[in-house]
């Protein structure tokens, strides 16, 4: 026995790799010497497929990228296509979209919170968080018929207008949501074991985040005050009043706090959007779509995981000549190898959780 370390295959079938991530860990006892993430088990050739489908058909594919935030993917895609077309979307549609993607952000963060807490051994928050996520899924189901993959947006607007029951249900949800977040925080925020497990684990510096391309709540946890909704507003985000929470240390605990605070802010945005929803004037909720011009556009939104961008190259035909997704979890996952080095095996699980990956989006 000359070899001092053991190689441990974490995944692709492992309870806490959130799908099919495989991490090759080089362990010295419990300490991680080296970690190599191996991805691609869920590759479905999205970008190739998109070149063979029309712009409208591609919308359905986007749902399947990040299936925990399907609305956000729809949203980013239609915004990119609308930018290519150069069309203006009705104000009412813009507001409904904002309400929907913010609800989706809450749903996604709730799921993250539950699974992340479960990864660290606290099993109860998962069930609490899923209760509220269920309410959001019900709202989606009522308007679109779909829960996980609603495909509700269309290039130029929405698949259908919403009625007063949507406004009523959404208001009911936002009224009680803040108190529900208090419940989760009660279980975790001041819990000494939770703090032991998350404080000073996976610390990121600002420079590290920027250089590695890390965006979204992780970057904000490291203290970078950057949110595309504020810095480059789209779809009337400039109309809404909300704060961008930032952290100081960029550790797992800060990432947790960021997402908790973001959920509260999102609930505020949803509330403002449904309160200020312009009345329908009877005109369709969808702008007219003309011929697709030749050209190329890149549009990105702040998805629950970070900067989600679509880069479309059009040659004027019915399908895009090239459709490129800038997947936030793919880029964020890059930093993992560096973050886990020198930490303990248990911290690997915490750090994978902190990154909030959806493997369907990483592999596309």
């Amino acid at each position: 026995m000359t070899k001092k370390t053991i190689t441990l295959n974490l995944g692709p079938q492992h309870p806490s790799t959130h799908g099919v991530l495989r991490v090759l860990l080089e362990l010295d006892g419990e300490i991680v010497v080296d970690a190599k993430p191996d991805i691609g088990f869920l590759h479905r050739g999205f970008e190739k497929l998109a070149e063979h489908r029309t712009y409208r058909q591609n919308l359905v594919l986007t749902d399947r990228l990040d299936y925990l935030a399907a609305m956000s993917n729809n949203f980013a895609y239609v915004l990119a296509v609308e930018k290519l077309l150069g069309i203006e979307v009705p104000k009412r549609a813009q507001y409904i979209r904002v309400a929907l993607v913010e609800l989706q952000r809450i749903a996604s963060h709730l799921f993250w919170l539950g699974t992340h807490a479960h990864d660290l051994g606290a099993m109860t928050p998962l069930f609490y968080a899923l209760c509220e996520r269920e309410d959001i899924m019900d709202i989606f189901e009522a308007i679109s018929g779909g829960r996980l993959t609603p495909s509700f947006m269309r290039c130029g607007g929405l698949a259908a207008d919403v009625d007063s029951s949507f406004v009523k249900n959404t208001k009911k949800f936002t009224d009680t949501f803040s108190s529900k977040v208090d419940v989760y925080e009660n279980l975790l925020t001041e819990n000494p074991i939770w703090k032991l497990r998350t404080r000073n684990v996976g610390k990121m510096s600002k420079e590290f985040c920027i250089n590695t391309g890390i965006s979204g709540p992780m970057a904000r946890a490291a203290g970078i005050e950057w949110d595309l909704r504020k810095s480059n507003p789209y779809s009337s985000y400039e109309d809404f009043d909300f704060a961008i929470p930032t952290g100081l240390q960029g550790d797992v605990y800060d990432c947790y706090m960021m997402r908790i605070k973001e959920m509260r802010e999102s609930a505020k945005i949803v509330r403002q959007a449904v309160d200020g929803l312009p009345e329908s004037d009877g005109s369709p909720i969808k702008a007219k779509v003309n011929k697709f011009p030749a050209g190329e556009v890149y549009h990105s939104i702040e998805s629950p995981r970070g900067e989600l961008g679509f880069y479309i190259v059009s040659d004027g035909g019915k399908s895009p000549a090239r459709l490129r997704v800038r997947p936030p979890s793919f880029v964020n996952l890059q930093g993992m190898g560096e973050l886990v080095r020198g930490q303990l095996l248990s911290d690997v699980v915490a750090i994978i959780g902190m990154i909030d990956i959806v493997l369907a989006e990483v592999d596309r």
Binding site: H118, R197, S346
Partner: protein, 317 residues
């Protein structure tokens, strides 16, 4: 003579039947309570309120494919669950349920308990080692370190009780608590005992050697069917044993007003079990190094302090 032996055997069978039934229903209780804590129902389909669920579970485990991993060391692989199971059940030989409901009352019962319950770790270690699987092995290593680290403060905390009662017989210990429970006289010792017994029984927040989020299932990753079943029963029997010990050493055993002794005993035991489940539903898991730090840097010194203070008080008054 023969009548005595037969009686003794009948006693053993009855008591073990009671214990195994309690253990089976402990699993049901855990699942129902967790359901209650987590705003869901838990198993309620098999029989009224899910009361037959443990039987269904047992049948299911029994009919599963019994696998032995190809590269496993077969002898130890099969021996390991047996050791865990037998070690825990043997402990119940000296556990009294009421003033006269016990198999045997030996004068060194506490010593016997400590010795036999420590044997359980061999089951876990052997299982982890013989499976020839990295996750299992890490589970086994963790288990060994954890058991050694927590056995010492556990024993030290118990010595406090022994000093007060002046006996190692459990019946004597319970009887000496007639006026005042030891939880009042030994509050620090009780807390130390509770922490250590949580670690010993591999319960959240110290369920490090089988935590599914890191080690898949730890030492039992490669086990299936009844071999897994034996670990499973052994684990819950260990929890049941832990609750019995807390009751006997700190909560006055079967003493209590109005209700019969046996009822008081089981009320207290299942209350302890409920607290175990409650803790599991509330806390995240600690990390391996934190667990070790807690044991050697916090719990062990406190246990010594408790021992010294108890001894000094006992001598002075």
């Amino acid at each position: 003579m023969i009548v005595d032996i037969v009686l003794q055997i009948v006693k053993i069978i009855v008591i073990f039947a009671v214990i195994l039934t309690c253990v089976a229903y402990l699993t049901l209780m855990e699942r129902r309570c967790l359901g209650f804590f987590q705003v869901r129902l838990g198993p309620n389909r098999v029989g009224p309120w899910g009361l037959f669920q443990p039987i269904a579970d047992g049948l299911k485990l029994f009919f599963k494919e019994d696998m032995t991993v190809l590269h496993a060391n077969k002898f130890y692989f099969i021996l390991a669950p047996v050791i865990s199971f037998v070690a825990v059940l043997s402990c119940f030989a000296v556990v009294p349920f009421a003033g006269n409901a016990y198999i045997i009352d030996i004068p060194v019962a506490v010593l016997y308990l400590m010795a036999i319950s420590s044997m359980g770790v061999y089951g876990v270690l052997l299982a982890g080692w013989s499976s020839n699987n990295k996750y299992s092995a890490m589970g086994g290593y963790r288990a060994t370190a954890q058991m050694i680290s927590y056995e010492i403060p556990l024993a030290l905390a118990l010595v406090g009780v022994l000093i007060l009662s002046g006996s190692m017989s459990i019946v004597d210990i319970v009887n000496s608590q007639n006026g005042m429970w030891y939880i009042v006289k030994q509050p620090l010792g009780f807390i130390i005992f509770l922490i250590c017994i949580l670690a010993e029984t591999n319960r959240c927040p110290f369920d490090l050697y089988e935590c599914e989020n890191e080690l898949v299932a730890g030492y039992q990753t490669c086990y299936s069917s009844m071999k897994f079943g034996l670990f499973y029963i052994g684990e819950y029997a260990h929890i049941f044993l832990a609750c019995c010990l807390i009751t006997l050493f700190y909560l006055g055993g079967w003493n209590g007003p109005v209700l019969p002794a046996l009822a008081w005993f089981f009320i207290k035991v299942f209350f302890c079990a409920f607290c175990f489940i409650w803790i599991r539903a509330t806390y995240p898991r600690v990390r391996y190094d934190q667990l070790m730090n807690l044991s050697w840097k916090v719990v062990l010194p406190l246990a010594f302090l408790n021992l010294i203070v108890t001894a000094v008080i006992k001598v002075m008054f």
